[in-house]
């Protein structure tokens, strides 16, 4: 009997939603389990790091990693799994784009630690205790992994073969990706395994999106009654649909809320936030600079809205740090 292909799942700085997405395959999961040999899935099975280390290089057909790279341990595991896998797939927004944890790139480590362990109003910490990499008490030493300044995507740390987008990836997308992998006909390396067109094209409300859209005021969802049938962008809401990949069936729009961009951009776009910025700015219905500014002011938080999931993967990756600790001389 032919040996079943080996697969592995791993999580970095994530929320576990991607793990749930796999479990959400429900009955289909049993078929997957029957077809492959899962050699590493910390949330569900007992295989340890040593087992992975003991595998020959490239022994695993496909490893799915979700979560962004936030600390030293995650980076180590990414390198280890890369060595042991033929194919490494970035599963979910965090590993592909940085995800919501990537918003931490608007801050630096020190301010995050201060915020959490000192400034929080319910925290009582006069001594100024902070988690330490190494800490000793009475001859006992315990360790914690190191927390980087900058959140990174998986492909900023290791070579990635394919991407499965979404926060979390929709069941349809996961199933299609698994089928593609098991079919043996692999797309070009670096492909995002989802339809390569914008969400607008498959959105159930696309027929109500006008040809010429002009905005005199952007609306925030809590300020207006949201029509349950009309295009959300046409209603003045900040919908990321035009700059976001399709394939998820637009569940957020069916929930009557705008798309927030979790599937990332199409292959023709390098920086999703810049792209949506360009689209929305162009729609502003004014030629006068002051009026333009007034209209644009109705977008409350450009960076957080346009780069909700994709800040680490953007051109700039992070907010410029206050005083860089090290400067590179070579120019």
């Amino acid at each position: 009997m032919a040996e079943k292909p080996k697969v592995a799942f791993y999580w970095c700085a994530s929320c576990g939603g991607c793990e749930e997405a796999v479990v959400d395959l429900a009955e289909a999961l049993l078929d997957v389990v029957a077809a492959v040999d899962i050699v590493f899935w910390p949330v569900a099975l007992d295989f340890k790091r040593k087992d992975v280390e003991a595998l020959p290089d490239s022994a695993v057909l496909a490893t799915f990693i979700n979560g962004a790279i936030r600390n030293t341990e995650e980076e180590e595991m990414a390198h280890l799994l890369r060595r042991k896998s033929k194919l490494l797939l970035a599963f979910g927004s965090c590993s592909q784009l940085g995800g919501i944890p990537g918003l931490a790139n608007l801050f630096d480590r020190e301010s995050i630690l201060q915020g959490v362990y000192k400034e929080s109003p319910s925290t009582v910490n006069e001594e100024g205790t902070f988690p330490r990499l190494h800490w000793s008490e009475n001859g006992r030493t315990v360790d914690l992994p190191g927390f980087y300044e900058t959140v990174r995507t998986l492909d900023q740390v290791v070579d990635v073969d394919y991407y499965i987008p979404g926060c979390p990836p929709a069941p349809r997308i996961i199933q299609a990706a698994l089928q593609t992998l098991l079919s043996g006909e692999l797309p070009p390396k670096g492909t995002v395994l989802a339809p390569d067109h914008a969400l607008c094209e498959e959105c159930v409300r696309r027929n109500t999106k006008p040809e010429n859209l002009s905005i005199t005021q952007f609306k925030r969802p809590h300020e207006v009654f949201i029509d349950e049938e009309k295009c959300l962008l046409a209603q003045g809401l900040l919908c990321m649909g035009p700059a976001t990949l399709a394939g998820c069936d637009a569940p957020c729009i069916q929930g009557n809320m705008p798309c927030t961009g979790c599937c990332g951009p199409t292959s023709r776009v390098r920086d999703q936030g810049a792209r949506i910025l360009s689209s929305l700015a162009t729609l502003v219905d004014s030629k006068d600079e002051t009026e333009i500014d007034n209209i644009l002011d109705t977008i409350p938080d450009p960076v957080g809205t346009f780069y909700r999931y994709s800040l680490p993967s953007s051109f700039l990756r992070r907010k410029k740090m206050e005083s860089p600790k090290v400067t590179a001389i070579s120019r």
């Binding site: 790091r49 944890p101 959490v116 929080s120 330490r132 909700r308």
Partner: protein
Amino acid sequence: MPDAKETTLQQVWQDGSAKAGHEYARRRITIDPITRLEGHGKIDIFLDEAGQVERAYFQVPELRGFEKFVQGRPAEDMPQITSRICGVCPTAHHMAATKALDSLYGVDPPPAAKKIRELIYNIFVAEDHALHFYFLGGPDFVVGPEAPRAERNVLGVIAKVGVDTGKRVIAMRRRLRDLIALAGGKAAHPVFGLPGGVAKHVTPDMQTQFQVVAAEAVEFAQFTLQLFRNIVLKNSEYLNLIRSDIYTHRTYYMGLVDESNHVNFYDGCIRVVTPAGTEWKKFRAEQYLENIAEHVEPWSYVKFCYLKPVGWKGFTEGPDSGIYSVAPLARLNVSDGMATPLAQEAYDEFYATLGGKPVHHTLANHWARVIELLYAAERMKELAADPLLTDHNVRTLPTQTPREGIGVVEAPRGTLFHHYQTDENGLIEKANLIVATQNNAARIAMSVEKAAKGLISSSNIPEGVLNKVEMAFRAYDPCNGCATHALPGTAPLVLHVHAQSGSTVAILRRDLSGKVRRE
């Protein structure tokens, strides 16, 4: 001559320090610094000279910093941003955030919106509790703590209860999650929450679906409770395990209750009872800062909650220590009963069996969880049948200038607080989150240490010790992802025991599935 004297002095010094080092080394267990996986708990255990456990550290090695990076974000984005704290209980954060927004804008949702919210919420609690019982914590009992590790996981549960039942569990969970998606857009990271209401109304068609699944859910919950009775309560060994002192702590308890002091996941007042079971305080979410504080330790990224007026007295229990517990057992302890009939019967049976209120046995959480599953299903049925559910008016538009808002819900794993301060534009200036498992963090640490102390000594490290130590924290259904805004689910356990010189005596690994391997 000076040289000879120095040499002798050096020698004496070296001999002396070697001896001292040897003594220290014998006390010290060098724990492998590389944690198997981030976000999972790590436990470091130290032995004293007699080879007994001196100290155990339950470390949570992950942090993402949500409280910081939400600064500058529009408040109305918080339900969807904070839901990414945890992909297992996103709806809990979504709901707490939504309620915080109500408070922030001083706006009251219309009745239909409240019903929709509570309905979605109970569906979620039912689904999450079912997940824990069958996939995470339940295997300890359904298959048995002494059973072979290879079977102590969901597959073992299915083997024990039968494939049909296994499929029924999977299908039930799927149908519940489909309902959340129906009303809320997505099951994982729903989108429905807005200040003053929900994003869309419920159609009659949707209502019919809710009613059908609710009826199934009640049956399913009763089935699960009967399963628990058959497998656990009829087994004296398990009952003894539940009642054993190793897994018992006498702490305060906290949970949300409605006006009749019944358990309510969605709304109510926070009630705290003493270790003796008397009411210590009942307060509204707005007063949480007077009553709850967080303590920092250098060996973990998680902060430990305690009752501020009582004070932080270290990792101890009793009425003088501010440490308290939340989640199913706590909720039952603080309430005067359940709001629905079948759950109330189960509640009475629970306390009759375990000797009255309050129950301090941590493992009883598993039973309490099933009782809550039943309540959630019954409440779902009530709400699904409500004619008001399909009313089109589901939004009250905010008119006030936002400043500060606090929202509280009962997440499946405990009381959850979201507190926001914004500028006049509604952009977050400061956010404070006290997340369910944080409330339990101190007691979890104590439970792990107590279990370790009771079960481990240097001469004897039995295979089952790891599972039993783990059972100490698994009963809380900890969400370390929430607690540090890092990773959810049960924490796999790594126990590395090095004695004396640092050579490895044993490395035991155990994770969610229940498998333990000793190297």
